[in-house]
Symmetry: C2
Subunit: 347 residues, 2 copies
């Protein structure tokens, strides 16, 4: 006998009932959080420190497919991608606000799963959930997250402040989340095309699937930079792909760059999946996106210091604008970088 | 000859092109805005002042109907409803972030209209647009706005700090936005049911239509309270209706209230429209919502001082919890207040 899955319609609770159900057990950790959920607005006190704020909108059918995305992972990811933007300013996230628009297909139990992931991310990254909005929608799920954090005076890392001869550094490895997505999409299509109930072929790819479904933000890198007294000249998080995001730094700084194929960090699973699907691994790294790694530049003289930090690769250097934005292949040919990053308005 | 309306698909610009098109002409006004649009996050410096932050999600088909809502008004309203929450904390809004999810039916020209309204509201209320997110959606338009502001130390007005015998004050008049909506909905249905192209009957109702389509937040009341050195014991903005919002103050403060029908401020047009549509005007005021007026309580001894402020009505007083939350009709009967405010999850 299978236990019947409990399904409670959201209309049974109403908006205020749902909010208190979801936020009733929230505890606050930060001194900067004066007042959280429950009033017209949350109240913060940054006590003279500078504050960074960022927001991202995640739309069902555009940014995620619930066919293969567990709601708990989705909630976790929605928080993480916003925290990643705070880290990319060299900041430390302190508070988040979460807004949800939910269609009638979502039960209370489904929303609880989503919130489990949201709360788990808040716990992991030690941020306070201080507010948001909850409403219905005619179709699907939309998640809007705001993340706020503090940054030490003089330590903010903008995009437009790279300097000539800076080393270009990147954390972790690239292209894995993209290959994870390709794998999930391939199996979804096989499943759609098949009249039989078949199991998707996903074994052996735990790492790249995890990178797509439950990414992490590089809190550890920000801490390591701090511990090693390194303030990057420029920094951005990799959400649209190395190519597109590096171009943001170069264009906004009025400079060029040279990055080298043989320096691009790739995981074994990324290369294996790419080979299996006839994709050039470095193309996945350049244009894939959703890595949520940190891309930053440091002055050449900090090379040895930066070497101390685990899980950082030096992939190239910043040049004068006239030299262009170049990708140097293993064969020595130079390719102009192109912003082929993800564009939701694309044809 | 009619000029052909220009229609530019968003895919022609892409996400980054759209963002720079929309935000290229933004100028920043506040010292607390260190860095606006263009990086991973915006940077603020509140220099030791407390900060309030609030967010609202507006979903097409749930919160607005584009059949009768001009996009410019919608953009204006999306900002105003968020600023209203900042004022309701006794704060002064300084920055907003705006996120849009747009389906394929929206052209660049349509988004420009929406942004015209957004920018007009930012200009009117002197707030800096410092960030956001822009993406596509499968269906319709979703707008997520975040508003941030500063509040003087010791002047924050929470919901849960009303005191027994406080006077209950409300700004402006109530129920007008609700009656405006009823009027628009009536004409939409007539239009839908009719095979002929007929003009909607909206003349003589400019005020209530304006209250629905282009509401204002009560910046002037917050300034007047400040000038008169009045700090409300409790405050909330009227978004869900007087009944529901007053109950928030009472419940969160652990107290009761008595409000009087003959004290409820109603505009002539509100009464006229209500009578025409067989709705009790005071019901529109109690349960209508979207007034974006301020509801606050002050100690009895501040009565004469509060009287100095234009456009404020005293509608009742705060009682012990045991006395309940009562609405006293003109005939002297007492009705228990009920939260019949707007609930998007309602059946």
């Amino acid at each position: 006998m299978t236990e019947k899955k409990k399904i409670t319609p959201l209309s049974k609770l109403g908006e205020f009932g749902l909010i208190s159900h979801l936020t009733g057990d929230i505890s606050l950790h930060h001194e900067s959080t004066v007042k959280g959920v429950g009033d017209d607005a949350a109240v913060m006190d940054y006590k003279g420190k500078k504050m960074v704020v960022t927001t991202d909108l995640l739309v069902e059918g555009i940014h995620f497919n619930l066919v293969y995305t567990p709601l708990k992972h989705l909630g976790y990811k929605a928080i993480v991608v916003n925290l990643s933007d705070v880290y990319a300013m060299n900041g430390n996230p302190k508070q988040v606000l979460v807004s949800l628009a939910l269609s009638g297909k979502f039960s209370l139990e489904a929303v609880d799963q989503l919130y489990d992931g949201i709360k788990m991310a808040c716990e992991t990254y030690k941020v306070d959930l201080v507010g948001g909005d909850t409403t219905s929608s005619l179709t699907g799920l939309t998640i809007s997250v705001v993340a706020m954090g503090e940054v030490d005076k003089g330590k903010i890392a903008y995009r437009n402040t790279a300097r000539v001869n800076d080393l270009i550094c990147v954390s972790g490895d690239l292209g894995a989340a993209y290959m994870g997505l390709q794998l999930l999409e391939r199996e979804r299509k096989v499943f759609d095309d098949s009249s039989k109930s078949i199991q998707p072929e996903l074994s052996g790819y735990d790492y790249i699937l995890g990178r797509q479904l439950k990414p992490e933000a590089r809190k550890d890198i920000i801490a390591a930079l701090h511990d090693n007294q390194i303030v990057p000249n420029a920094m951005i998080d990799l959400s649209d792909g190395l190519s597109s995001d590096l171009m943001h730094i170069c264009k906004q700084s009025g400079l060029g760059c040279r990055v080298f194929q043989d320096k691009i960090p790739l995981a074994e699973e990324t290369e294996r999946a790419a080979n299996e699907m006839n994709i050039e691994p470095f193309i996945a790294a350049l244009n894939g996106g959703e890595d949520y790694e940190l891309l930053f530049t440091v002055p050449l003289e900090l090379h040895d210091k930066a070497m101390q930090i685990k899980d950082i690769s030096f992939i190239g250097h910043i040049t004068e604008a006239e030299a262009g934005m170049k990708f140097v292949t293993n064969q020595g040919s130079e390719i102009e970088l192109q912003a082929q990053g993800w564009n939701s308005f694309g044809d």
